[in-house]
């Protein structure tokens, strides 16, 4: 089997050629939808559908029917407060033994499943970053190591890097489940009807920022949002310690590619996706405050900043020549004063996407900074309101950010799977 090949991946410098990774393999599993009786419960709030042009990037969640052929037992039940003795305490040779054992276990588990198909061992999949479906088919997990160029000026991974990983995981989820239609934003049934998902809102809470060389583990899943929308949630943890890095949730609406109007979810698409809806929220207290009209707060404590003349570069564009969602965050932060960025770190962000922009757009970024009351330690937290608009006027994105002084400990979350 692939065991010996996988083992060689753990022996750095081994003369054996590295295993061949298949290119862009669509999920090999059958497309049988195992309807498990989990009805999608419409959320109580249906009100965040946005008219206007917003742009989808990360795609539809789709999960393969039910069966998860993955040895994920060792990940799911270890509470994060207990250091994983496996990795932390054993000397080198034991680490290798542990790796080999895990591979054997994974292989063994695969052998025993009825619908087992020859595939790479999951350890290898993870090593190469393909990720795998877990939790009875409802969640997808992938690991990333933070690369040197993803680090920001303060030597930690930037919020854009983390958001990029969210995007990548979402797409890999869809791809692994075999439900990637044309382009990055549609299932096969949606592609047939010229429909695609468009993000309307995104919220993220960051507890800590990883550094170069850290490995982050991302879990993602989907659920319903209103009658006609979808949500996708993510939970990022440090792979080593299990501590939460980030939690995020996003809301999506369906749009017709040609008319650019919002669309209802057709029955065929519901059939594709509803079996995967999983009613769990990453962020428990969702920040549902409406973002204020901008500019609003005229109080003396608010300081306003602006940066103009922002233009998309080629690398900002996706295959449809629209600006990638994550880039907006960079532009939003362009107008934040450097003093904030130097002394504070982003604790949370809420983004409302209004309109898409393309190659020829020229944007301006506005930030209003409010200094909040000092905490008991005497340090100030801030929150900011942001507006990113075309210079001709229309709003692209509105956002609200909260900042805490660097080095402050965020509210820790126990990163167990019973979130």
């Amino acid at each position: 089997m692939g065991v010996s090949i996988a083992a060689s991946a753990f022996f750095p410098g081994s003369p054996a050629p590295a295993p061949v990774a298949p290119k862009n393999a669509l999920g090999e599993r059958p497309d049988s939808l195992d309807v498990r009786g989990v009805a999608a419960k419409p959320g109580s709030s249906s009100g965040t559908l946005r008219a206007g042009k917003t742009r989808a990037h990360a795609a539809v969640p789709k999960m393969n029917g039910g069966k998860s052929t993955v040895a994920d037992g060792e990940h799911e039940t270890v509470p994060s407060s207990v250091p994983r003795t496996f990795y932390n305490q054993l000397p080198d040779w034991s680490m290798l033994l542990a790796a080999i054992t895990t591979i054997f276990l994974a292989a063994e588990k695969q052998w025993t499943l009825l619908d087992w198909k020859p595939k790479r061992p999951d350890m290898l999949s993870e090593t190469f970053g393909f990720g795998r479906i877990i939790h009875d088919g409802f969640m997808f997990r992938q690991n990333f190591s933070i690369r040197s160029y993803e680090i920001g000026a303060d030597r930690t991974a930037s919020i854009e890097t983390l958001m990029n990983h969210l995007q990548e995981t979402a797409l890999n989820h869809v791809k692994t489940a075999g439900l990637l239609g044309d382009g990055f934003g549609s299932t096969p049934e949606m592609s047939k009807r010229d429909l695609f998902w468009v993000v309307s809102q995104m919220q993220a809470i960051v507890e800590r920022y990883p550094c170069w060389g850290d490995t982050v583990e991302v879990d993602t899943w989907v659920g319903a949002h209103g009658k006609n929308g979808m949500r996708r949630d993510w939970h990022l943890r440090d792979s080593m310690t299990g501590h939460t890095i980030l939690k995020a949730t996003s809301k999506w609406v369906m749009m017709n590619k040609l008319t650019r109007k919002l669309a209802r979810i057709p029955d065929e698409v519901r059939t594709e996706i509803e079996p995967y809806f999983f009613e769990r929220t990453a962020i428990v207290d969702e920040d549902n405050r409406k973002l204020p009209k901008f500019p609003e707060d005229q109080s003396a404590t608010a300081a306003k900043y602006m940066r103009t003349g922002l233009t998309p570069r080629w690398a900002d564009l996706d295959i449809n020549q629209h600006v990638n969602n994550v880039k907006y965050i960079g532009w939003i932060l362009e107008s934040a004063p450097i003093s904030i960025l130097e002394n504070h770190e982003l604790a949370s962000i809420v983004l409302d996407y209004k309109r898409e922009c393309g190659r020829d757009s020229v944007l301006q970024s506005h930030t209003t900074v409010h200094t909040d009351c000092s905490s008991e330690s005497g340090e100030t937290t801030l929150h900011c309101e942001h507006l990113l608009s075309l210079e001709s006027g229309p709003t692209i994105v509105k956002a609200r950010t909260m900042w805490r002084p660097k080095g402050t400990k965020a509210q820790e979350t126990v990163a167990s799977s019973s979130l």
Binding site: R155, W212, I319
Partner: protein
């Protein structure tokens, strides 16, 4: 004409939270922004054994390793969805980022300093740093989302004052060479800003991990990586003015990083070339650096009438009719001082 291109080398960034910053290898495309959290690693002389006492899980699972007795380093990377551009393939910026990453990891694995400069003990004593003056990348086949790219890198001496870092990129699935790159670096005194010869002491420290017999990514004679880029005189056929650095373009010392320059050069390429061609080669000569408040103009000139000789190279360029070639200049909008000079070669996309 030389450019102190790696900002971290110009000024030490203040350490935050007492963390040891990480490291850049000589010949790094871009030595900034790195992070540093490698527990247990401290600045140590270039010994293969001088590694962290407790490598993290990430390091153990890192798909990179020293080869051939430590003379080169190889690592694999998967292309992520947000690294893919309008052609559904990795952008040249992604490739440049990966070259940097593997250079960093190489340096770290042989124990160079972890402060972002890839200096040895002697270099630090003498206040010497590496600066790059040329980068040349050729890509024959761009990888797509999900492809795994294997990059091998090594560095070696280049004359008395310089070093070079070379890379070979392969598609892991079939072993095909999909790209090559090389960069030239010189040593400079941090304080006097004067070039310095590589003394024997430094040479021994730095080049202990480099091939003794020259090994070049571009072994063919008169290859494109050696071609000079002439001074350009106005007027440019194409331009994009008023380019502005973003926060994310800056390193810890608030200088613009290399990969951003590549993006700026591409900005003034006309749309019809972007739509019908893909970038095969880019050569950059570094002259000055720029910062957050600078405004940059990107100018493009068509380079015509070149005899495209391939010298029997295995990587023969396609026929002349299918290629477009340009010369570039990035300069400060105000003073007109040159920041970079460049050349790009584009091949027609088979659509």
């Amino acid at each position: 004409m030389l450019r102190c291109h790696t900002p971290p080398q110009c000024r030490r960034a203040p350490l935050r939270g007492g963390r040891e910053p990480r490291q850049a290898a000589p010949g790094l495309v871009r030595c900034a922004r790195w992070a540093q959290q490698v527990p247990g690693i401290e600045a140590s002389p270039a010994h293969a054994e001088a590694k962290a006492e407790r490598p993290t899980l990430a390091e153990r699972l890192r798909l990179g390793s020293l080869l051939e007795g430590g003379l080169s380093y190889k690592e694999s990377f998967i292309v992520r969805c947000y690294e893919v551009g309008i052609n559904k393939t990795a952008t040249v910026e992604t490739i440049a980022n990966l070259l940097q990453e593997v250079g960093c990891n190489h340096a770290q694995s042989v124990g160079f300093s972890t402060d972002g400069f890839a200096t040895t003990t002697t270099m630090r004593k003498l206040g010497l740093i590496w600066v790059t003056n040329r980068m040349h990348i050729e890509i024959y086949k761009y990888p797509a989302w999900g492809d795994v790219v294997e990059i091998e890198t090594w560095c070696q001496e280049d004359g008395r004052i310089g070093t070079r870092r070379d890379w070979i990129l392969k598609d892991l699935a079939n072993g095909e060479v999909i790209g090559r790159a090389t960069s030239k670096w010189v040593m400079m005194n941090q304080n006097t800003r004067r070039l310095q010869r590589v003394s024997d002491e430094v040479r021994d420290e730095v080049f202990i991990h480099c091939p003794k017999t020259p090994r070049l990514a571009f072994p063919e004679e008169n290859n494109d990586s050696l071609k000079k880029i002439p001074i350009l005189s106005d007027p440019a056929q194409y331009s994009r003015l008023g380019l502005v650095p973003r926060r994310a373009d800056l390193d810890m010392n608030q200088h613009v990083n290399n990969v951003t320059y590549i993006g700026w050069i591409l900005e003034s390429i006309p749309q019809d070339i972007i739509d019908t061609h893909e970038l095969q080669t880019i050569t950059l000569d570094y002259r000055r650096e720029c910062q957050h408040d600078d405004i940059v103009d990107s100018l493009t000139y068509i380079e015509e009438g070149e005899e495209k000789s391939t010298n029997g190279s295995a990587f023969a360029a396609p026929h002349k009719e299918e290629q477009q070639q340009f010369l570039h200049c990035l300069r400060f909008a105000g003073t007109g001082d040159e920041i970079n000079r460049g050349r790009t070669v584009w091949r027609k996309l088979a659509r």
